[in-house]
Symmetry: D2
Subunit: 225 residues, 4 copies
């Protein structure tokens, strides 16, 4: 394995899962501008709840990270996530007829619960390298999705889907993905096959949960009991 | 709320979920001695993987518990779980045509993953009272199930189901349930409404996951990607 | 106990320790402008190393905090600590003849090690209320020290000590102390006597460590082996 | 580095500290049978409080360990520590005129607090390999001390010191040390230089704290405030 391209090797080992993400009806119908708004609203609520838990994982990563420059960058990521992304979703929420109160008191659907509990468990029990590997599929696949469907004419004409999508193809967001990947590549360079295997397992599991998250939103999943 | 009976109050607030657990086809078909062995084997494998994670949660509870007598009891529970229950499943495994190797390398199905990540997240992030509240529905509902279906003639004639069921209605197991409930009642007596609300939320969520766990086994759930 | 003034009750129970902090030769000699610069340099290095660990604790608090507004404020505190305070110490370092490289690779002295391990252990094992209680004596006592000695003529004439002291009597810093105290008062309002007792114990222990930290700097403490 | 002998390499890098431990007056005076009983009593109380925290670290190691056989062994260690060693100290306590109540409510002295907070912080924030490396100096150096001074005639004639010492040169205890060392050697075999460097740092720091622990007992250390 060439450690300089470790993130690329993770990506390639999950490629079948990622292909299915890209082909999921939820993504397809966004690119065609015809996803029912009700499903999109469901998604935004779950994504907001997810993001709060994602921020918790960054908090733990900050607590555990050894290198001080990496700590500084993680603090920036955390601050950006909290002030930019959370606030973006809050502003966005109003536009799609979702009152802020309703957004904030969303209960997590089962798949979201499983996914975020997975991330938190890795953050608490694993190394920072493991944590960032588990967080990477979310960060990275959103950029890939946005780059893939972002130029679709039907999407560009849809004021809501287009605005949502533009966040994830922005320069700022792509820099964030770059930083996460560089971090993982650095960690992998100094890690053993045992740790890299764990990082891979977390990356694969989070990729599976990414697929299931879109599916959850498409089905507007609820608790069976 | 009468704090002496806090565990009973948890139980009553989850009663609708527990009724559905008791009525689930997986349980019904065990009591009728007609559950396909393939489904039972799937269940045993998942339960084994679950138990390992359950033991991890006890480890964290031992790390966090303040009272030394409670610490001593938690160490006993941990030891019992590890030497008695894990070994029982390992012996049992052979009887149902499940090689030990296969049992040990089981991958968790999605629902099992979500449930155990929930337990571990509570254990790492919460108090001991929260942790034991999250663990209680598993411990307790197994006893209720065993007491409910344990005398069914069809079950008693089924050598495998009967042996499995007898574990959970044994004196030793009932004492374990008693200890967990007493522990929770004690904690609740010294806790605030805020902490008790968290304990309730964990208890409800674990009860939901208990239902979903049986359903996962009945459907022999696999990962969609 | 009046929960609105819980932080004040913590303060009063630690008052004997705080009096000894205020009277410690390290503080006295700063106010008189005659502390040997070598001791001050030692202190700045240890404080820098301490601050990094303090930030880790905030990371864990963010991971555990339930209320989203509190989460938002903790993220601000973390960001402020990282960008303002760390950078302030880095700029300050040069002025007192301490190269940035030397500042950054400081090894913790025994007392600093014990104190920061205490804070991290509370952060990992306890509730957010416990964590903030353990962190409060540092935050708060620095303000009290600055307000007590800040107008001393000898200090005001000392360019270095005066600049150092002015940070901790600034409006911004006093607002930070206020926020921490309000947070603790809120938590205490919804907590049980058991949790408040733990919070008190952490507050007392951190107050003891605060005294010992100044003493460590005065003695320029090193490892015996 | 030969990973089969990693524990030996840790030992050799800490050899100067270990020599000072062996030569400490506390150890010397035990071997000569002339340590004041008051100092020994102080030590037993602190060691008892230490052991409780040591057990907590084992709990976290059980939560994090990947390999199931290692998990099983850690559960045995935990159980042994709790039932054998804690109970041994409790029985021993009476013999040296230390009522059980007093033993159990011991407050930790500053050095003990720092040492145990260090162990817990490593356990919560690090890998299992790091945790066991931090715990190893205590386990291992006690055996070395016992083997070094165990045959001293003056010690053998002293009923209390001799009984205390015999625990740590018993076959059972030496097997425990062997298990810890094998565990570390295994982990080191599959770990990167980065992780091994962390393990070394923890081992060195715990070795320092071992020295300071004996010195704390000899000085009957108390809190300065």
């Amino acid at each position: 394995m060439d450690s300089l391209n470790y993130s690329e090797s993770l990506r390639s080992k999950a490629s079948k899962i990622w292909e299915k993400i890209m082909a999921h009806p939820f993504i397809m119908e966004i690119s065609e501008g015809k996803l029912p708004l009700e499903k999109f609203r469901f998604y935004i609520k779950q994504d907001y709840a997810y993001l709060i838990e994602f921020i918790r994982c960054l908090g733990i990563a900050i607590a555990k990270v050894g290198d001080r420059n990496a700590m500084r960058t993680l603090v920036s990521c955390l601050h950006t996530n909290m002030t930019i992304e959370v606030e973006m979703l809050e502003r966005f929420s109003e536009k799609i007829g979702l009152p802020l109160d309703e957004l904030r008191k969303t209960d997590m659907a089962p798949t979201n619960m499983g996914y975020t509990r997975h991330l938190l468990t890795v953050a608490y029990s694993g190394t920072v390298g493991e944590t960032i590997s588990a967080m990477l599929p979310c960060i990275w696949s959103y950029m890939e999705i946005a780059l893939k469907i972002g130029d679709s004419p039907a999407l560009k004409e849809h004021p809501i889907f287009n605005e949502w999508c533009s966040t994830y193809k922005s320069k700022e967001y792509r820099d964030l993905v770059e930083w996460y990947r560089d971090f993982i590549d650095d960690v992998a360079g100094g890690s053993s096959p045992v740790e890299r295997e764990k990082m891979l397992q977390h990356f694969i599991l989070s990729s599976r949960f990414e697929y299931m998250f879109w599916d959850m939103a498409y089905r507007m999943e609820s608790w069976p009991v």
